[in-house]
């Protein structure tokens, strides 16, 4: 994981105060694969077993859209961050 942190450290973000990623708790609770926690290239999602809830580190999102398409129950609420927020790639 620390390795991913090093990678994300190179990315420029302008975080919003609210999340643009909104999982539906009831769906996540019964979701078998929790696939969003596995494929996300920024490790945005973590499963909190105690609270039975996804932790969403939306500030790290690279806005690729993979979780939206991968979500097991197609329930993940996903939109682009506001125009002046989110990731800014300088290289791309």
């Amino acid at each position: 994981m620390s390795n991913l942190e090093d990678k994300l450290y190179t990315v420029k973000y302008t975080p919003d105060s609210e999340s643009h990623l909104r999982p539906v708790d009831e769906c996540c609770r019964v979701c078998k694969s929790k696939v969003c926690t596995k494929i996300c290239p920024a490790g945005v999602y973590e499963w909190d077993e105690d609270k039975k809830k996804l932790i969403v580190n939306y500030e790290n999102c690279l806005e690729c859209g993979a979780c939206r398409i991968a979500c097991e129950s197609s329930s993940l609420g996903w939109e682009y961050p506001k125009g002046n927020k989110g990731v800014t790639f300088k290289q791309g």
Binding site: N3, L4, D6, K7, L8, T10, V11, T14, S33, V35, K38, I39, P41, A42, G43, L62, E63, C64, G65, A66, R68, I69, A70, S74, E79, Y80, P81, K82, G83, N84, G86, V87, T88, F89, K90, Q91, G92
Partner: protein, 436 residues
């Protein structure tokens, strides 16, 4: 009243190569066009390998080589077939001065440059603005709703990239499925120009492209890439999302392993990570192209699935489809007719161009490979490397025996019926590419 003030001829959503090429075509014809981009600047949300292609880019920007931020001119293409530890590399080098095929660029700089050029030619560029939905009235797309205000126009062109939430909103396409996209991760690694020249055997301003098969992606529907920039190297890979889901693989773990492969590691050694990024690549091809036009609306670039994966072509299809959509908009504005019928010219022109022809040529490619991924991208790449291992090893075993052992291994590794299935899949694929 406000509606009249915010009414223009055409709105283009998305300031990537498709949207910019489209908007500039419309502005050059003397029409009013607004280009809306959600990023801080054009390119700030965009990621590719990558290289842009000289000829298609000249169709939009005839003299771009004089002023655009170009990194290196491609003089060599390498195809690296990686085994677990070994590698077979095929290379094609062409140093002819006159015909540059492609140039490596950095999207954060290049898209920004393109957008500035479009502004100079009269395009109204609106940045830091997300189009949240399309405004549809009486069956016609009439404008766009952003966070701040509504804009109205006779035609809206969707160049909003692979996720195209807007094409989905108005039913031009359904939801993408994980087979239709590849998730790619990329790193830009800083290295001095001298080191790059030395390691990639190029001179200043000359560059090299690696297409990478196998390695950490052995048996997976995925490809790796490497591009040389002026003072950095771009390295990354893309794997079909369904494959990542099924195998529960983290894409950046694959990239870490790729960077450690003995063939690749010396090329990026001691480089400093400048930026990590991720993006989706449309992979659905011809069969997943959405409905391309409707009353008052057209779709171009990645939003229309216009990518040719085998050749890493995307920006060229984006630029040319954007240009054709722009030309169609100009014709429609001339006639004052924005009906579905009037805009069907867009599809006709696309059919006449290389875009639909190439997509058709490769229509069975992905499904063909998907049906036998572990063979075509696992077993055979390994076999190619083991052939060279056999061929280069000197060990006092008579050569004829070695050849026969190698040939026999095909039949002992796998059953005859499996071999026949591979053969048949290749024949079918070649037939679909060359004939039907």
């Amino acid at each position: 009243m406000e509606r009249e003030e915010n009414k223009i001829d055409v709105i283009v959503v998305g300031g990537g190569p498709a949207g910019i090429s489209c908007a500039i075509t419309i502005a050059r014809a003397g029409k009013e066009v607004v280009l809306i981009e959600r990023g801080k600047f054009s390119g700030s949300k965009n990621v590719f390998g990558g290289a842009i292609y000289a000829k298609p880019t000249r169709e939009i920007f005839p003299d771009f080589e004089k002023s655009a931020p170009i990194e290196r001119k491609t003089v060599e293409h390498k195809y690296a077939i990686l085994g677990e530890e070994d590698a077979t590399v095929v290379s094609y080098k062409n140093k002819k001065e006159e015909d540059a095929v492609s140039y490596s660029v950095i999207r954060g700089k290049f898209d920004k440059w393109m957008a500035e050029e479009a502004k100079k030619e009269g395009v109204y560029l609106v940045e830091e603005t997300v189009v949240r939905e399309l405004i549809v009235e009486d069956g016609y797309v009439k404008g766009v709703r952003t966070e701040l205000e509504d804009y109205f126009s006779d035609i809206v062109i969707l160049a909003d990239g692979v996720n195209s939430l807007l094409a989905k909103q108005i039913g031009l396409r359904g939801e993408l499925s994980p087979e239709d996209v590849a998730l790619s991760v990329k790193e830009v690694i800083k290295l001095s120009p001298e080191l790059i020249n030395e390691r990639f055997h190029v001179n200043n301003d000359e560059g090299c492209i690696y297409q990478i098969f196998g390695g950490p992606m052995l048996g997976m529907l995925g490809l790796g890439f490497m591009y040389t920039n002026k003072d950095s190297v771009s390295i990354g890979l893309g794997v079909t999302l369904s494959e990542l889901i099924e195998k529960e693989i983290r894409p950046y773990d694959l990239l870490e392993n790729l960077k450690k492969h003995p063939e690749i590691a010396p090329l990026v050694k001691d480089g400093e990570l400048a930026e990590y990024s991720a993006h989706l690549i449309p992979e659905g091809g011809f069969k997943k192209v959405p409905i391309l036009f409707g009353a008052g609306v057209m779709v171009c670039g990645d939003a229309a699935m216009f990518v040719n994966n085998l050749h890493w072509e995307g920006t060229n299809l984006a630029m040319i489809s954007g240009k054709i959509a722009g030309e169609t908009a100009v014709v429609a504005l001339g006639k004052g007719d924005f009906s579905e019928h009037a805009l069907s010219r867009y599809q006709e022109e696309l059919e006449n161009s290389f875009i639909m022809k190439d997509l058709r040529t490769y229509k069975d490619l992905m499904s063909g490979i998907q049906s036998r991924t572990s063979e075509f991208l696992g077993y055979y790449p390994k076999k190619i490397n083991s052939f060279f291992e056999m061929f280069t090893t000197t060990d006092s075993i008579p050569k004829r025996q070695k050849y026969w052992d190698f040939i026999k291994s095909f039949f002992t590794d796998r059953s005859l019926s499996e071999i026949f299935k591979d053969f048949w899949a290749v024949v079918k694929l070649l037939w679909s590419i060359l004939v039907r």
